[in-house]
Amino acid sequence: MKISRAWLQAFFDTPLPDADTLADALTFHVFEIDGIEQHGDDHILDVKVTANRGHDCLSYRGIAKEISAILNIPLKNHPLGDKLNLSPQTDAVSVSIDDPRCHRYIAGYIRDVKVAPSPQWLVSYLEKMGQKSINNVVDATNFVMFNIGAPLHAFDAGKLKTKNEKYQIDIRPAREGEKLLALDGKEYTLNPSILVISNDSTAIGVAGVKGGMPASITEDTKDIIIEAASFDGAAVRKAAQHMKLRTDASARFEQGMSPEWPAYAMRDMVLLIQQIAGGEIVGFTDAYPVKQEIKPVSVTLDHINKTLGMSITTDEVSDVFTRLGLLFVQEPVISQTYHHGDKSDLSPAPVFTVTPPFERLDLTIPEELIEEVGRHLGYDKVPSTPLPPSTALPEINHSFAAAERIREDLIAQGYSEVFTSVFAEKGERVVANKVDGVRPYLRTTLIDGLTEALKKNIPNKDLLGLKEIKLFEIGTVWPDAKEIQMVGTITEKGKASEKPLSEHTQNVGHPMSYINLPTSAAIRYAPYSRYPYIVRDIAFWTPSTLHHEANVGSVGSYISDVFKKESGELLQRVALFDTFTKADKTSLAFRLIFQSFEKTLTDEEVNLIMQKVSTVLSAKGFEIR
């Protein structure tokens, strides 16, 4: 979620540190930061709120709470601290929840608001979030959502039907094929797995995802009904997936949200509406069938220390819980004698029992409390401890041992190892949802991939300095409704073949350890040129002064040096490929590979180099053949 430093400051009296310090505080104690952007004289942090904290941290309030705990700066006021009083109640709106996937629904009825452009501060706040201002009422719902984390919606009451001068709002499953023109201008076809907000049997919104056009706020809107609700996360997620529409609201609901939230969102919304759009509060209707149950969670100090591998004190634990605003009881209460006496007085181990605040749906087991302690104290304080010596010898994996042996055998025979894709043009098993759509099958053989790989490598034979391309792959295939590991080989001259790895496994026997095989000795990888290369062969008689057989090696390296000097970086490879002696003369033949990293070389460029090489060699007494 995008977090503006300036907006965040509104939660504190103390000036906040700079954006980098905030980013570090969050990174090392709660969430990763995907980036920091300068926005005028403000900075926007892109905070990667993890999927377990969507309940309470997809908001300025949530991030402010974390910052307050991490940096130990008090919050200006506690947005959830005050006792709530949504009054007066009204019977002008009646709400009926017809599906258990709606956990709570509060309707707030305000008459005579003035829909108008938003004040500048609100426009600029939403702009920081990458949101375009629509009008003061709609903007207020978005502002409150970002600010405290609970989504809201506003309906134009004037567009709703009344019965006996009362508005009736139902939360019900959509009918099969029921259609809704949503606020994004698209018509969606719904089904009973999707919850809708309904008035007079007509859907006016999809619960937790998007409002509908039939009750949209316009300049002519006078009376509004504000929705603050809580829906089942999985239901909202399914609806959003069906509609292919992930909204700021659905992203918050789908992680699960406490049914206590709507009341706070409604309170803030009504205050803001009065401030920027006026109007008269008629009252509220609150349908809240099953109150949220909050279960205390206990953890012992011993469990905390055993899990983190640290020696944390009770004081440190209570400090973390206090900073995080977690209500807790510590038992047994440590007696005064502790400060003077023996440590053994401490037993039994202290236990912390935390009653999580309603919004912290992530705190349900001791390990989650341990995480709170660990991350707040800082994981840099976790020491490094080696594992205790192993009590048993590890088992030998026979299939891996066999694969290793085959790998070494093939490499010794000049085969190089490749991996080709498991995805194929044909096969038995097919991917249902492949993003790129190509090669949707799982391969049944390694042969096709190896054949393709061979074809691809043959043109590079000279560049690679190989006489023959020989490849192997040890990989998984899916033939005959089975998954098996296969060993496949292919060479230019021979035929491709493959054999299940299991047929090799019996050769391995029951070794007590793995054979010690060489690993790659490569130090650094050097990128290769993507441009075509040019091959030139050159042969010459060596001067009689140098023709002695034993000297061929040193003559060869002398000549290689000449080639390198004259052709610079363009010479990729030089290889002596033929020598013979006739009478008293020795002929040497070299193959030269030229290639540029910047462009396709022309014959003319290479000819020029070859001419230079010939000139130098002729001058030294070599006779070009």
């Binding site: 994981y379 991996f419 993003v435 490569a522």
Partner: protein, 262 residues
């Protein structure tokens, strides 16, 4: 004698990793690439219809038609019995399979395994993303296994892989459904032999944490008696760092201009 061929850098890394971990008492474990949703997700505490399931883009495989008796078996009466199969999105399902197997054999922890192997993500590919790549998973279960043991083990592993450097490790908070607490592991290489691009720089290496009690429970291990740590690291990424490889797509290119450098 023909000239020796070349080992793929991933195979070389697996060979090296296995050697380092074998000496620390780890068994090399394997599991199928085509997994059921239970092992790939549910048993790992990734619930159906939870956003955590979106953290990984999954290849779903259509039910196996060739093995069915006839079209009638594909009727709706049977479809709810069908197990949805996926290409495993991580090596973590082998945690479950291994523990289940041990419990079935009546063998209680301690367990120490590594799981090197291929995994899949259904996403567009680029220089740093591949649809098929390799991971190495580690799992240790025993009495009193802590986050400090995780740190010690990873330090020993990286010290073995980056032999010319001195290696530092740091943890940052994170979230994975199958570990609690969860951490992101960064590594820093210090020393004159470290290429300048990597020297003294924190690099994100993997996700890790202590095994979530639900995961132990789902595999039949008593979470009150035992605890454990687990980690999962991209081997392709490790190879990229180790050898300064410029593009992850080289790994499956089957191009000897790449492979023959190793």
């Amino acid at each position: 004698m023909p000239e020796r061929g070349h080992i793929h850098p991933i195979s070389s890394l697996i060979r090296e990793a296995n050697r380092i971990f074998f000496d620390m008492g780890f068994t090399f474990a394997e599991g199928p690439l085509l997994e059921d949703e239970w092992h790939n997700f549910d048993a790992l505490n990734v619930p159906q219809d939870h956003p955590a399931r979106d953290m990984q883009d999954t290849f779903f495989i259509k039910p196996h038609i060739a093995s069915q008796q006839g079209p009638t078996l594909l009727s709706s009466a049977r479809s709810d019995l069908a197990v949805t199969e996926v290409l495993r999105t991580h090596t973590s399902p082998v945690q479950i399979r291994y523990m289940e197997e041990q419990i079935k054999k009546g063998i209680q922890p301690p367990y120490r395994i590594i799981v090197p192997g291929k995994v899949f993500r259904n996403e567009a590919t680029d220089m740093t993303h591949e649809a098929e790549f390799f991971q190495i998973e580690g799992l240790v279960v025993g009495e009193g296994i802590s986050l400090a043991h995780l740190k010690g083990t990873l330090e020993a592993f990286f010290a073995g892989i980056f032999r010319d450097a001195s290696v530092e490790i740091r943890f940052r908070p994170s979230f994975f459904p199958f570990t609690e607490p969860s951490v992101e592991v960064d590594m820093r290489l210090v020393g004159e032999h470290v290429p300048e691009k990597l020297r003294n720089r924190w690099i994100e290496m993997m996700g890790a944490g202590l095994v979530h009690p639900n995961v132990l429970k789902n595999a039949g291990v008593d979470p009150h008696t035992y605890s454990g740590f687990a980690f999962g690291m991209g081997l392709d990424r490790l190879a990229l760092l180790r050898w300064g490889i410029d593009d992850i797509r080289h790994m499956h290119s089957a191009d000897l201009r790449f492979v023959n450098q190793f």
